[in-house]
Symmetry: C2
Amino acid sequence: MVTTIFDVARVAGVSTSTVSRVLNGNERVAPDLVAKVTRAVRELDYRPNRVARSLRLRHNRVWALVISDIRTGPFFADLVRGVEDGAHEAGYPMFLCNADEDPSKEAGYLQLAVAENVAGVILTPSGPATDLRPLIDAGIRVVLADRKLPGLPADTVVADNTSGAMQAVEHLLAGGYRRIACIAGPLATTTGSERLLGYRMALERAGMAADDSLVRVADFREQGGRQAMQELLEHEPPPDAVLVSNNRMTVGALEVIEETKLAIPEEIAVIGYDEIPWAPLLRTALTTLSQPAYDLGHEAARLLLSRLNGYSGSPRTVVLPTYLNIRASSTPKQGAARSPTLVVEPTRPRRRQLRDGRRGLADGGPGTANRPADRG
Amino acid sequence: MVTTIFDVARVAGVSTSTVSRVLNGNERVAPDLVAKVTRAVRELDYRPNRVARSLRLRHNRVWALVISDIRTGPFFADLVRGVEDGAHEAGYPMFLCNADEDPSKEAGYLQLAVAENVAGVILTPSGPATDLRPLIDAGIRVVLADRKLPGLPADTVVADNTSGAMQAVEHLLAGGYRRIACIAGPLATTTGSERLLGYRMALERAGMAADDSLVRVADFREQGGRQAMQELLEHEPPPDAVLVSNNRMTVGALEVIEETKLAIPEEIAVIGYDEIPWAPLLRTALTTLSQPAYDLGHEAARLLLSRLNGYSGSPRTVVLPTYLNIRASSTPKQGAARSPTLVVEPTRPRRRQLRDGRRGLADGGPGTANRPADRG
DNA sequence: CTGTTAGCGCATTCAG
DNA sequence: CTGAATGCGCTAACAG
């Protein structure tokens, strides 16, 4: 038999309500009773039953983090760490759920979150069909991370996908590349569509017609990246550069380039979205777009916490900058004319921008670095 | 207000017990009442409150998977997928917790699992100090995955770490390498110590004294791999080959080799534990030891399920084989004498071995492939 | 300040 | 086969 609050009350010689009050520390209790209860708790190694507590309170002191693909390299891993640290700092335990880009799995986890009465959910929506109503109806706080959900008034933290992709393409243009291809992610996700948008905008701004035969929409997975890259290479004339919209697709694309024995960057330059620790170790070191994955998660945690603490202003969207890590895979072409209009601004991390919010967050700083501390 | 079983009973014109019986389907109920209840449930979009159910039943139909480091590349991601699929097939939702190699975080999650009454826990123990008693006392089923917990009678599924490391070292010996170093993981984990053991056994079997100055014990992280590799290279004479015990440390070791401008494999051969999708894409394609990560997870799920279904035999340990992916980073030395005693057996995946078990598992096949289907 | 009392939503005795 | 009654462990009124 598990020890209950009743056992503690008996041993301490008080009522269960007193034990409860001591444990939750909200109301005033006489010091001697506090001592008695504390001793009894320790003596019995009493641990409150969260289930009963949750039933009574009609909410559970747990967060659920629902991510869209646990296999997306270090990106989601760092994001998870960011949320986890934020949750931990605030004293909330956190469960993680992997929706695997599957809307029905995602819906299942959201139902579960409702059924388990979680206090809050941080979610990477799989697409516009993601239904937040069950959560909202149940009074559960929701924060969107990494991907927006257009039209839904929820606090959101995202990276500046459009600018990131623009930066990458402008960098390629400045390097003399002219037939730049793009392997985009699912357009139903804002990460998919906004990166493609950034690609198009950079081309337009440079006065070049975006050539849709150089665009492939794939699925954020290796296999999709492979197929897209194969198709692009069969095209005549083939691209001389490619921007790949995430890490997993980049692996697929690089495999195809490797198999085709094309030289990077001489025959095709490559830039991959998502920084990865092995980028510098590749046959040709890979130029990547870092996303502040850890900060994305940590910021999401702070938005959720502020809601749980009673903030009820209109939804806030936090946009964090990306950073271009220039490496050999995008080396400028021999004798590339550095036309002034194509010069790329130095891509230092900018301050986070706050949009749509009634006011800023309580504290300042852009949080910790992009990567968790254990690497330093 | 959320709809409760009471609302359903009212709308269906029956008692709450009848609704409960219909929902759980264990007892017999008159067909017409079943129909009424079913209709009312649909009409009200009723979803049972899992918290109340859990309190009443004193157990919760959820699994918790506690892994030791979410950042360990695809390994844990695939393991998670394996467990998840197994849980899903059996109709259990699953939460994931990331202990981050931190025993206190791990203990916190185990406490949480107890407090939440989960039906079962699948755990990658952070070390021998991991305390399973709170779980066992609470009647929660536990399965260990990836790492054993010596002395504890729990169902366990692991890869054959010792043989894997032996294979790797024998392969290097056969290739003419003689000063083979090893970067081991924490010896408190069986993955750390067994891989080191395999390394030593291979050397001894070849009649070579294991040289401890060629062994470094690190922390399974990039930074540890970096430092270990640096130390090994400073040693005189330096190693001509190195076996690195996991993916993250391999990244660190490769960074150092890169910075030192050493040629792989001419100046130093490298084999990394854990297969990684980008292994073939590195400057020198990396020889790796694949672990059946997905199968490890899926098998753990099956062991847990069999316990939940009432199996109460003695604890079973399932050992799955590893597989050596030979690539350029371990190319035999020029004119390496292929002494007969050093020839490596072909390392095909072997059938899983069952140890200590009273009987085999219900079904046959070694499960699905090492990698989830979406890559094929 | 403290104890008594009454549920949170559900599954399960126990009678009928 | 069905319904009324009970309690899982806890917290929040409500009186004292």
